[in-house]
Amino acid sequence: MAVRKTIYFFFVPGLLLYAIFFLYPTLSGFYNSFTDWDGMSDTSGFVGLDNYKTVADSIIFKKAIGNNLRFMLSVVVVQTLVSLIVALLLTKNKKTTVALRALYFFPTILSSAAVGFIAAYVYDPNLGLLNELLRMLGLSALANNWLGNPSLAIYSIAAIQAWAHIGQMAILFIAGLHAIPEELYEAAKLDGGGKWAIFRRITWPLLAPAATIVVAYTTIQSFKAFDLIFVTTRGGPNYATEILSTYIYSAAFQNYKFGQASAASIYFLFIIAFITFLQFRALRANRVSY
């Protein structure tokens, strides 16, 4: 019993940090979502579900959800596919593996804000590198107003978000690939299996756990994206890149409506939980074991 008590004692620091930095803010945010607190005043009034109704009716909140879903889908598809391809290439090519892994991993050491600043300069329609490059390659027709065109801006930022995290996701896939027993590939080759058949019947099904983590992580990461959007477009032009995190930031720290921001955060939490749940179910259904 004494040993057990000692074990519990070692939990205390972690539990304390968890309680202070997660549990308390979460519960506090939940409580604030039922008040009209402005973030500064000494007093606040209980307003029941008013904040939830106001947020649900908000034109900007609805735009933010739509933009967030578009952003998330683009990032998940591009980031998962490209990082899988990069992982496969890096695992096969033994000679250049270390150098290439370092190269692909490089963007992940940059902060999102730094990536955003770089992206804003690269995307600048008049002086930016991307349009200049396209013009040099004779592809002037593809030159665009990447961040200023309301129908394109969210995808331009999604491309940067995906680029910045491909190395990180590729490493998860590489770990998954290393966990697949080599004997399975040898047996498949002996049975005359082609590259595509081997990938479809062995690699992909056995990568399902890694893919589940990559997709879930990418979903959460792209839903939470804030600094990249804030640095590049601040949610503009005309709300074209407004997402849930920028909406919440604006409501809390610019408009001083902490109650509404807290209600939006609770919606945010449920949306992420629901999407992640669906993804886990879908990907778990595809899982196999040999």
Binding site: I20, D42, G236
Partner: protein, 425 residues
Amino acid sequence: MLKKYSFPAAIFLLLALILAACGGNGGNASSNTVSSGNSGAGKPVEISFIHWQGDVPVWNEIIKDFEQENPGIKVSMQTFPSEQYQTTAQVKLLDGSVGDVFASFPGAQFESIAKAGLYTDLTNEAFVQSFVPELIKSGAKDGKQYALPYSLVYNIPVYNVGLFEQYNLSPPKDWDSFLAASETLKSNGIIPIAFPGADIGPGQFMNPMMMNNAPDEEVFQKLEKGETKLTDEWWTTTLSQFKELNDKGYFQPDSLGTNTDAAIALFSQGKAAMLATGSYSIAAVLKASPDLKLDLLAPITVPADQAIYEGIHTTTFMLGVNSKSKHPEEAKAFISYLSKKEVAGKVANAANQNIPVKDIEYTSPALQVISGWADKKTRFQPRYLITNIEIQKAVTGSIQAVIAGDSAEGAAGSAQAIVDQQLKP
């Protein structure tokens, strides 16, 4: 069973008690008892000064001089990026541990700080008399002077006088001549207006564009009371004029993707004749191209005889004393020092910004460019009079919408829908 969980439950309860002791939702902050004076024997009182002018080394000099003149007071300065400051200053001021003296923006931030009771009333302080009375109204509310603006800027385009002279153009006096001048510049391969539509452009250029379309200085206050709408003529006319400038190619191509630095580069390189920002850009332009001859001009969007205002001014960087400060007298002493014309002049010429303190001698080249504007009929920046940020964003968003291709009426209607939601009780 109960015994099995008793120890973890006890730990959790302990945590809950600790949190409860620390907690309360920000709304339970206790107010400090204000004391002043040099509390420790021989030990100087330290006051905190927070603001957003991080790139101005003159502040260190000023503080050093102040400390020499006031050996009982030490000033600890912290600066933040202006974007960060705009959103988090209030939270920092709440417990009184930082920001005995603090800077604030006019408009939404001033209103929210005043509402939270974080300003000390400075109305009867002698140093208020050092300021130009008409230029400190942005720091006043309900007849009380809560903050003293320490920066005066003109939010109207900077123009390249040399390029205008080259094409025999003078600052246009009405909308038709503004369009004609723009056409002349465009037909000679010059971008008439470098417009940073990706960031500050809409929020800056909207001010001179609307100043004579809606000469009522309370128009945005009325919008926030529901007494006027963005779908009314004053705003749809402004939007259609923005659209006209864009559709005629008087902004650089893809202006909504152009940020401030890129717009300044276009202007500094002589590729654009006007820069739709404000007087605060002059120093950066002169740094890049010291030989450029510059001045300011505002687009006059109405016939000349109907023009009431010649431009826009903003008094910002408003200095206040935190009502939760433990050292209010020392904080006031610091502001009093900054209010001296010699000290204010030193800051002004080093930081290339006008300061609304009386009788300052401006010697910096950037400030000499705008010296004549103090005598012109300018009005306070209308955008800063919008206190709800979502309404402010809807207004500037409607400008981006017309530049992206929407009709003036459609963009105004969409923006008004957001305004209507914000006005719901």
